[in-house]
Symmetry: C2
Subunit: 526 residues, 2 copies
């Protein structure tokens, strides 16, 4: 390698040759593709390698997001793949699989894939990214720390090589996120790494139905179970909840009583609630472009470093989201009659990401809290509480596609991809509540499978799952507390209007932030 380096610093103009010299055919290579940030320069260089020289690599990529991630397989440089998520590349992924160009080890959740890096998938080489490095290799990841320390640790302490593309080589990094000790090689990338604003939702696109569901969730779930610690998934429905805390939530007198401690990325739609004094702490999986200055101004709420910028960490936030918070709430694209859900739709092998880690009841939890105890389960002496795992969704997606279906597309996709079991995102028996515009189903209260199905059907509207149930049965479920309709929760449906949102546009969010939130260009409409 000596011909390509000066100290630890590699020549960016000769990355292809450097990789061909560094890697050996068959190597297990962790290529950083996180939920958000991407070691794109290294991915490109890898895709550019000569398959005559470098072939049969085994890639570990948590999120298949870039064209280059799959080019590497198409060109024959890599053969085997273990991954967690393939959102933007899921169609091509399925195609390469069918063509025998890629051999999938398994589809994981994020933390599962990292866990295996310490067991049977230890990386020979880690190709990572960071904002800055000094010449000793000390890394500054900036707000988007995400998964870099975890992958670096797996490789650095297992005799692996750690190579990092950085946006900038500096004399002194503003803070050390990863010690230079763990880093073998750095290269200054010709351009900053790719980072997607995955957690920004424009309040303009939040409709009345989402607002109604947010009201139902707040009264029927958050208030009823005194949920103080929680995780929100991505989506307009949970964004609506964030945005009615300072209005509807305030009216209900819930400030300080619910939603105090969060594990989630710095969602711009959370800004009004933070500014209204609802939020005591937020620990983040990753960052979010545009929130840097705002987050730095609120070290009382966010985890920030000595330099003032956010410190995120996916593994620790997943740990917190699994063992320390009482509720996960997220949306789904399809839910079957047993409440199994999936975001896999026809022809797409999207993978799992992080939701299954949040969206299950962790049997390893032992501490109690009021919310957890309110879902008491089991027989004495094995009585225990349970995590609230909430699915929130309209009964139909845009275009009139039902969310509640007889059979998940995931079942067929799993078969077509040769997966040993169907790629279910969240299992029905882990779901405690489902919220739709029709009402709330308290699945955790169901005595058996038949009751659970009926409770779900009662709020599934005119979908194939919902049409099954007759009115009198719905009345019985309401009496038994398995289902609550808006009137049962004293939610006035007429109030579900956009005026209830604390911010109705990205511009409003900027105003709430005191001008500190800098929305990415695609969200600027003014």
């Amino acid at each position: 390698m000596r011909s390509f380096t000066s100290g630890r610093v590699l020549d960016a103009g000769r990355m292809r040759d450097a990789l061909q010299s560094l890697l050996r055919p068959g190597d297990r290579v962790a290529l950083e593709g996180d939920n958000q940030k991407q070691a794109d320069f290294l991915a490109e260089a890898l895709a550019d390698c000569d398959p005559g020289v470098l072939h049969d690599l085994h890639l570990l990529i948590s999120s298949i997001s870039l064209r280059e991630h799959l080019d590497v397989f198409e060109r024959g440089v890599a053969r085997r793949l273990d991954f967690a998520y393939a959102g933007p590349q899921s169609v091509r992924m399925a195609q390469l699989l069918a063509d025998g160009k890629v051999e999938v080890g398994a589809v994981h959740t994020y933390v599962e894939l990292y866990a295996r890096m310490f067991v049977d998938l230890t990386p020979d080489v880690a190709l990572l990214c960071a904002e800055q490095a000094d010449r000793e290799g000390n890394l500054y990841t900036g707000p988007g720390t995400e998964d870099t320390p975890t992958i670096a640790e797996a490789a650095a302490f297992r005799g692996g090589v750690v190579l990092v593309q950085v946006n900038e080589l500096v004399e002194r990094v503003p803070r050390v996120d990863i010690p230079g000790d763990w880093v073998d090689l750095i290269v200054e990338s010709p351009r900053p790494y790719v980072l997607e604003p995955l957690f920004t939702r424009d309040p303009r696109e939040i409709g009345q139905v989402s607002i109604l569901m947010a009201m139902l969730a707040l009264r029927g779930v958050y208030e009823r179970h005194e949920v103080t610690t929680l995780n929100h998934g991505i989506g307009f429905d949970t964004a609506a909840i964030e945005l009615i805390l300072p209005t509807y939530g305030e009216e209900l007198g819930l400030r300080g009583k619910i939603c105090r401690h969060w594990t989630l990325n710095p969602h711009p739609t959370l800004i009004p609630a933070i500014e209204s004094g609802w939020v005591e702490s937020v620990h983040c999986f990753g960052g979010e472009p545009g929130t840097e200055r705002y987050v730095a101004a609120r070290p009382d709420v966010f985890f920030t470093g000595g330099d003032g910028s956010l410190r995120s960490n996916r593994v620790l936030c997943q740990l917190a989201g699994q063992y320390a918070v009482d509720m996960f709430i997220g949306s789904s694209l399809q839910i079957d009659a047993d409440a199994n859900s999936s975001t896999v739709t026809e022809g797409r092998l999207t993978g799992f990401g992080g939701a299954p880690n949040m969206g299950h009841d962790p049997h390893g939890r032992r501490h109690a809290s009021p919310a957890w105890l309110s879902l008491l389960t089991g027989e004495a002496p094995a009585l225990r509480g349970r995590k609230l795992v909430v699915q929130i969704t309209q009964t139909f997606r845009s275009g009139g596609t039902p969310v509640f279906v007889e059979s998940l597309d995931a079942v067929q996709v799993g078969k077509d991809s040769g997966m040993p079991i169907p790629p279910i995102m969240i299992y029905g028996d882990d779901v405690s509540h489902v919220v739709t515009e029709e009402g709330v189903a308290y699945l955790y209260k169901a005595a058996g499978l038949a009751d659970r199905r009926e409770a779900l059907a009662a709020i599934a509207g005119a979908t194939p799952v919902g049409r099954r149930l007759d009115e009198r049965r719905v009345e019985a479920l309401r009496r038994d507390g398995l289902v609550a309709l808006p009137e049962d929760l004293k939610v006035d449906v007429r109030r579900a209007r956009r005026s209830l949102l604390a911010a109705r546009s990205v511009e409003d969010l900027v105003a709430w932030s005191g001008g500190l939130y800098d929305p990415p260009a695609q969200f600027r409409t003014w």
Copy 2:
């Protein structure tokens, strides 16, 4: 604080005054007491503080191991406590609780407590320990990294103060385990921190019954389910398994087929298996005194740093043990008829430690493996595999105390301590197999609760749980594969002799290690 420091370095002679100046009444203080290593010098200084000046502290201590941990409460310096384990101090702990001297927030598992440090129990001050520091505060933890980086991260990025006692201040640390950036203050302790050899088991104390159970486990569980990735708890029963791999396991032709990747501390009893080529990798929660030179000589197996010494990390190893390994096997002190188990016995509030995190089926796991799929569960489309959670125990403890009991002592201890739910270590519905000297119960195969109880009773011997079952029912359970007796597994009971152990003494382990294992004094009998 300036009067007590020179740069980042505190004067060890004035720790009490420094702490009284640094801490404020009511502060939330994470005091490092891990499973193994203890920030004992800082604990002493804290216990020595004037309760007139410093009072009402809220302590977060994962393992209550030292007298000083409770002195702090007895003297009124601290009032509230969140913890995970209280082994050696469990009797006094219960007494202080009864006297109203300590107010317990909750009893956690280790990772749960760390998880909450990122949510609703963020520390104002962290009092930690490490082997060495340089004057910039860069820390070298040595082999016992354990929990230091996690607690440091929780405090350092939340505006908290990080104070570390080190065994030695040096010019340059051999490797950086925690960057100086995250560390505010260091103090050179007058003596090295306390570290207990918790994972050393003397093969001399392994009796024939343990060896028989090890044989049953190997044939009835490991071989049958092709367990390649696993975690072993502490105990003589699992030590026996480790020690018959190179003998009985070899005979069965199982090398390379089972037990390839491990998550566990560097158990000295694993040395013969490592030296016989059974073990491809071991990731560790912490270190183990005496194994330093041996581990350093096997970087092909252990995770080691550039300096050659072990890098452990409890949180990452727990993650690996939860999501990446197929089996957990551990011992228990009491098991009830429903297979609920506990290590809590009369009058002792021991807490949970790490076993519940390993000893449950993680519903957030999505990747498949042969072992996991061999316990297929659920109804289509929600079919999935399951983790092997194995309990191994003799039916009676020494002194003739039955392990299988009508009611766990934990139930009464929980009541007496005012816990909201009984402190069950591992829930019966999470247990897939139980191994005793009588045979193996395949609980995961049971169709219902009645079957599970019978399968367990069939191997519970002459205990109150075992006496219930009649012989013909046992025959039926064997036919249905819910129970296997030694003859069903083709285990020749007469071969369960100490000659089957690859090492029969600590001296033998030293020999296996090529003289690299340096047993602590209390294990040296020659």
